[in-house]
Subunit: 257 residues, 2 copies
C-alpha cells in the first residue's frame, strides 16, 4: 500500500481536482484506492457528491481514538473508497499541536490500513497551509505529488514545499518521503507566462515534472458541481484525457524499469 | 481610517490580486493606503516587487512587541505603503493561540495607526485558512471584502465565511464587522458555470455583491511577475478597467447617499 499526499500550501492550484480525478482514474484501472479528504473545507468530499457528517472525518480517529476502518465509506465509483472530511477537522490544528508529537499521529492512525492490505493506494487531499494537517500528511506519506499552477505565484510556492520536504526528511519525521512528481495544472496555452513557468519548472526539476500537463478546461470546473469525476462527467474531453494520462504516467513511474 | 480585510478561506480566489490592485487603485486616486500582507506566503509582498526580511513582518509587532510604525515601508507607488510579510508570520498561528486572547492582539497592534491618522485605508491580504491570522484579521477589521471565484467550490466557501462573520460579531470579538462586499473574480464569460454562479450569488446576496466582475485575463496573472499592479502593467486592459471600476464602486459605497 502506498500513501500519496497531494499537497501544495498555495491555494487553488488544483490539489482537490487532482486528488479526485487521479483517484478516479486509478480506481477505473482496477486499482483499489482510498481517497482521504484532509481539508476541513471538504471540497473533495462534496466534489464526489457526498455529504459531510459529524464524527465522519479523520478527526474522530486523530483526536478521539476512533478506529480508522469505521470512517471508510464507498463512493459511487467501484474500487474507490473515501474517508470524508468535516469542518470538525479544523480542530486538529490546535488539538494535535497541543498533544505533542503531532507529526506522528496521522501516520499511526493510518498504520492499520497498511497491515490489512485492503487498498493499493491512499490518496490524501491536503489543505492550502503549512499547518498541522498538511505537515502531518507529509510525515505520513510515502510520496508527495505537487500540483502547481502555471503562474508566477506558483513558482514561489514550489520552492517552499521542496524546502519543507527536505526539512521533514532531515528532522527524522519522515526520512523516506520522496517528491514523486510535480504536475502542472490549469495550463492555458494562450498565455506566455504559462509556457515560461512550465519551462522554468522543467528546467529546474527535470524528470520530476510529469510530461502530462493538465489544461484549463470548463468541464474540469463543472464536474464537482455534479458530484462526478471528470472521467464520468466528460469522458472524451481534454480534461479526462489529461488525468488518464497522468494516472498512467504515475503508475509507470512506480514500476521498476 | 478604515481597516478592510480581503478574506476568503478558499484558496486561489484572487485575494492577493484584489488586495494589490484595489490598494493600487485607491492610492492612484490620492487615497493614503497601507497594504498589510498577513499571509506567511507573502504573495502580496513579492507581487509588488519587494523582498521579504527577517523581523520585517507583523510577527515582530504581534509577538515581539515591535512598534507597528517601524514595520511600514514605502512602495514604488505614491500614496501606497506596505507592511510586508515573511515566513516568520506562520509562527503566529501557534504563538498567538498559546498567548490567549489571540483575537484581540492584531486589533491592539493596529490601534496606534488609527490615532495617528496617517492612512485613510488599511487593506489586509489574508491567508487561505480559518486559522489565527485570518480570524484575527476579521476581529480587527471594520469591514470585509470577499473575493470569490465563479466556480462550484467557490459557493461552498462563501456560505462558510458569511457564517464566520456572524460568529465573530455574535461572540463579541468584533460586533461591528460588516460584510462590505463580495467581488466575483476570474470570470470567464465562455463558461456557463461562471454565469450560473454569479446569478446564484447575486440572487442570494443582492446588493452586497459588487456590480463589477473581475474577468480572467492573462495580464492579471503576469503583472506580479514584474512586481507591478495591473494599472501600471497594462493600464488600458480589461483587468485594469475592472479593478478601477471596483475601487470606484468601493468608494461610492463608503459615502453616504
Ligand atoms: N484544469 C482546470 N480547469 C478549469 N478549472 C479547474 C481546473 N483545475 C481546477 N479547477 C477549478 O479551479 C478551482 C481550484 O481548484 P481546486 O479546488 O482543485 O484547487 P485546490 O488546490 O484544491 O484549492 P484549495 O487550496 O482551496 O484546496 C476549483 O474551482 C476547480 O474546480
Ligand atoms: N482575474 C484574473 N485573471 C487571471 N489570473 C488571475 C486573476 N486573478 C488572479 N489570478 C491569478 O490566479 C492565481 C490566484 O490568485 P491569487 O493569488 O490572487 O489568489 P489568492 O486567493 O490570494 O490565493 P491564496 O489563497 O493562495 O492566497 C494567481 O496566480 C494570480 O496571479
Ligand atoms: Mg482543495
Ligand atoms: Mg493570496
Amino acid at each position: 500500500m502506498r500513501i500519496v499526499a497531494i499537497a501544495n500550501q498555495k491555494g487553488g492550484v488544483g490539489k482537490t481536482t487532482s486528488a479526485i480525478n487521479l483517484s478516479a482514474c486509478l480506481a477505473d484501472r482496477g486499482i483499489r484506492t482510498l481517497l482521504l479528504d484532509l481539508d476541513p473545507q471538504a471540497n473533495a468530499t462534496s466534489g464526489l457528491g457526498l455529504m459531510q457528517e459529524d464524527r465522519g472525518s479523520l478527526y474522530a480517529a486523530l483526536v478521539e481514538g476512533e478506529d480508522v476502518h469505521n470512517l471508510i465509506r464507498s463512493t459511487h465509483l467501484s474500487n474507490l473508497s473515501i474517508i470524508r472530511s468535516h469542518q470538525e477537522l479544523a480542530g486538529c490544528e490546535i488539538e494535535l499541536a497541543q498533544a505533542g508529537n503531532h507529526l506522528a499521529r496521522l501516520r499511526e492512525v493510518l498504520q492499520p490500513l497498511r497491515s490489512l492490505s485492503v487498498f493499493d493506494y491512499v490518496v490524501m487531499d491536503c489543505p492550502p497551509s503549512l499547518g498541522v494537517l498538511m505537515t502531518s500528511a507529509l510525515a505520513a506519506a510515502d510520496e508527495l505529488v505537487v500540483p502547481m499552477q502555471c503562474e508566477y505565484f506558483g513558482l514561489e510556492g514550489l520552492s517552499k514545499i521542496v524546502h519543507i520536504v527536505q526539512q521533514i526528511r532531515e528532522c527524522g519525521a519522515n526520512p523516506d518521503l520522496t517528491l514523486e512528481g510535480i504536475v502542472m495544472t490549469m495550463f492555458d496555452s494562450r498565455a506566455n507566462l504559462g509556457h515560461q513557468v512550465v519551462n522554468d519548472v522543467r528546467g529546474y526539476f527535470g524528470e520530476v515534472v510529469y510530461e502530462t500537463v493538465i489544461p484549463r478546461t470548463v468541464r474540469l470546473g463543472e464536474a464537482p458541481s455534479f458530484g462526478k469525476s471528470i472521467i464520468e462527467y466528460d469522458p472524451t474531453g481534454k480534461g479526462a484525457q489529461a488525468y488518464r494520462a497522468l494516472a498512467d504516467e504515475f503508475l509507470r513511474r512506480r514500476q521498476p524499469a
